[in-house]
């Protein structure tokens, strides 16, 4: 019997408890308002949250962010922390697209200077020059030695080749590379899928968006992040492509056959002790895939910089395409959090969720330390995206985690049906948004109506005090894979 939203107990306007019952080892905490709860009622998010709360060694509540929806194993928008000894790591708690993530770049350009033909020329040049779409390879095929170095070094691999600057690494979560990456734990099949995909956007919900900062809510934080109203900014959303998917698939299979692993009823939730042989191997492979993704976004950034410079006839200094931040959405990381007033290391799984460190955290770059981490929450291609900042409260209540996007409101199939007979490109153009998509099907699947309103999602984060609003951007031109 699916869990009904009726069992949720309201804590305040934005927090709902899923009381501990059945085999749950802890309670669940759902962040939502009444509108978002109505979405939860339509799918299996609460059942999946229940499953997460049953995993051994869970510390604190099993969390569902405001953009949560049904996934596999963990819900998308699910966050959970586990004790390093008594707890688990779960490939289903990280997801298939390991370190699917987003980065935001500021510029020295005013969006108003780029309307009309210059914007059309630029988005067309980017659509032609940025590899995107199903099975689309990157700019170069990597041999084993280079691919292994990418998996060890992350974004530093590209920077080491002149595709970016050390400053880019400073503004990536974890410096653009997770520690402990072990290329030997990555299968030949995973490497085969990844070797010609470095520097490519991919398909599905991945995108590159030129946007304009249309509203600043927090002047101090916006200044620290280098954001001003009217400014042109660029969002890039991509991940570890086929390599990450194969790593997840490989370890679901390996753990599924491991008698020492933990086998919940939901096979996608299979898990193991972090220190077990297969646990260590998965964590090494996961970090390697995460680093592939960091490097992927770095290579995409350099392609963006090169093409934008050529298209507009401007040098790097005039463009000023500097990284605001790069965050991972799908990872498990060993982090230290305050639990019941004491620091405690835990394996934090964020699946479709973003880290959101508060002010003063030592992992933040100096430039942001006084205000907190930029929390990047892209919306759909027709409405808006938001920049928030992490808070101390998030560190106390959500293992420093936040929502990562709008979250889907309807299935891809439903969206395609809704898109039949419609000219979505023209509809968006009427809203002054240029769209270049590799396929009409992708365009329909990703139409604005297919997503919840991201304003509602960030409204919950802001209202709950877990991440607070800094700025809003609107899309000007979007490339979909």
């Amino acid at each position: 019997m699916p869990i009904s939203i009726d069992v949720l107990q309201q804590v305040d306007a934005y927090r709902w408890r899923l009381p501990r019952h059945g085999e749950m080892l802890t309670e669940g905490l759902v962040l939502a308002d009444a509108d978002l709860l109505a979405h939860l009622a339509k799918d299996g998010t609460l059942d999946q949250l229940y499953g997460v709360a049953c995993l051994p060694g869970i510390v604190g509540p099993a969390l569902a962010m405001p953009d949560a929806h049904q996934g596999y194993g963990f819900p998308i928008g699910g966050v959970a922390a586990f004790d390093p000894v008594e707890g688990v790591v779960s490939p289903g708690g990280v997801g298939y697209d390991i370190n699917c993530g987003v980065r935001l770049l500021r510029s020295k350009l005013a969006a108003a200077d780029l309307t009309g033909q210059p914007l059309t020329r630029l988005i067309d040049a980017l659509a032609a020059g940025v590899p995107a779409g199903v099975g689309e390879g990157g700019p170069q095929r990597l041999g084993d030695p280079d691919l292994r170095r990418v998996m060890e070094l992350g974004a530093a691999w590209a920077v080491g080749r002149g595709w970016g600057s050390p400053a880019d690494l400073e503004f990536c979560e974890a410096g653009g590379a997770l520690q402990g990456a072990d290329p030997d734990a990555v299968s030949q099949r995973a490497m085969q899928r990844g070797r010609d995909q470095a520097g490519s956007l991919g398909a599905g919900n991945h995108f590159l968006e030129l946007g304009e900062v249309v509203q600043v809510y927090d002047a101090q934080a916006a200044q620290a992040f280098g954001l001003t109203e009217g400014q042109l900014v660029v969002w890039i959303h991509s991940g570890s492509r086929g390599l990450g998917h194969q790593v997840c698939d490989d370890y679901l299979r390996i753990l599924g056959r491991d008698p020492q692993a933990i086998h919940p009823r939901d096979r996608q939730l299979v898990a193991t002790r972090p220190a077990s042989e297969n646990g260590r191997a998965y964590l090494g492979a996961m970090a390697a895939a995460a680093n592939f993704a960091f490097n992927n976004r770095q290579m995409l950034t350099m392609r963006l910089r090169d093409i934008t410079g050529q298209s507009l006839g401007l040098g790097p200094a005039a463009l000023g395409l500097g990284l605001v931040y790069d965050v991972a959405h799908n990872v498990a990381k060993l982090e230290t959090h305050q639990v019941q007033g004491r620091p405690r290391p835990v394996w934090v799984h964020r699946k479709g969720a973003t880290r959101a460190l508060g002010p003063g955290h030592p992992e933040l770059p100096d430039r942001y330390r006084a205000v907190g981490q930029p929390v990047l929450v892209p919306g759909d291609m027709g409405r808006a995206s938001y920049v928030l900042k992490g808070t101390a409260l998030a560190e106390e209540q959500t293992f420093a985690s936040s929502a990562h996007g709008a979250g889907r409101a309807m299935s891809r199939t439903q969206a395609k049906k809704l898109g039949q007979g419609r000219r979505l490109e023209q509809e968006l153009l009427a809203q002054h948004i240029l769209v270049r998509a590799k396929s009409r099907a992708t365009l329909a699947e990703e139409m604005p109506e297919a997503y919840k309103d991201v304003a509602t999602v960030v409204g919950v984060m802001h209202g709950a005090g877990l991440a607070t609003l800094v700025a809003r951007t609107r899309p000007l031109a979007v490339i979909k894979g």
């Binding site: 929806h69 049904q70 596999y72 998308i76 899928r193 599905g204 396929s439």
Partner: protein, 138 residues
């Protein structure tokens, strides 16, 4: 009955159902259905046959393993799966060979399936035949 297939809705992703008279036919039909979903275009050309020898805990797991083989062959090697010949099929083993052709300019990319999941995967009797369902990560 001739094998049939269709798609299912899932919040973020896509499902596939297949029906056939026998389990070997069900597996072969699932391969063809997923392959058509991922790539449109002609299936002509010389078929290369690749051995498959998969293990699982039940038919549903074997089906997921098999379909992930189809995903890998396309994404990792540019090969479109066009046929499956089953030599042995039990609840814990599927052995046979997968027929593939190279992806060419006449082929058009379809759904960006990146993995086939165990989530709600099932193989169940349906009258005198069988029905399968899987959810795919796209």
């Amino acid at each position: 009955m001739a094998a049939r297939h269709g798609t299912l809705t899932h919040t973020a992703d896509l499902g596939l159902w297949v029906e056939a008279d026998s389990l070997p036919e069900l597996m072969a039909a699932a391969v063809e259905a997923l392959s058509r979903l991922m790539t449109a275009g002609p299936r002509q050309g010389e078929i290369a046959w690749l051995p498959v020898d998969l293990e699982g805990r039940d038919y549903a797991e074997l089906l997921v393993e098999l379909l992930n083989e189809v995903v890998y062959r396309l994404d990792g090697e540019g090969l479109i799966s066009v046929a499956l010949e089953v030599a042995e099929l039990s609840p814990v083993r599927l052995a046979g060979r997968l027929g593939v052709i190279p992806r060419g300019p006449g082929h058009e990319a379809g759904e960006p399936v990146k993995a086939v999941t165990y989530h709600q995967a099932s193989v169940t009797p349906l009258g005198a035949g069988w029905r399968a369902r899987v959810i795919m990560d796209v």
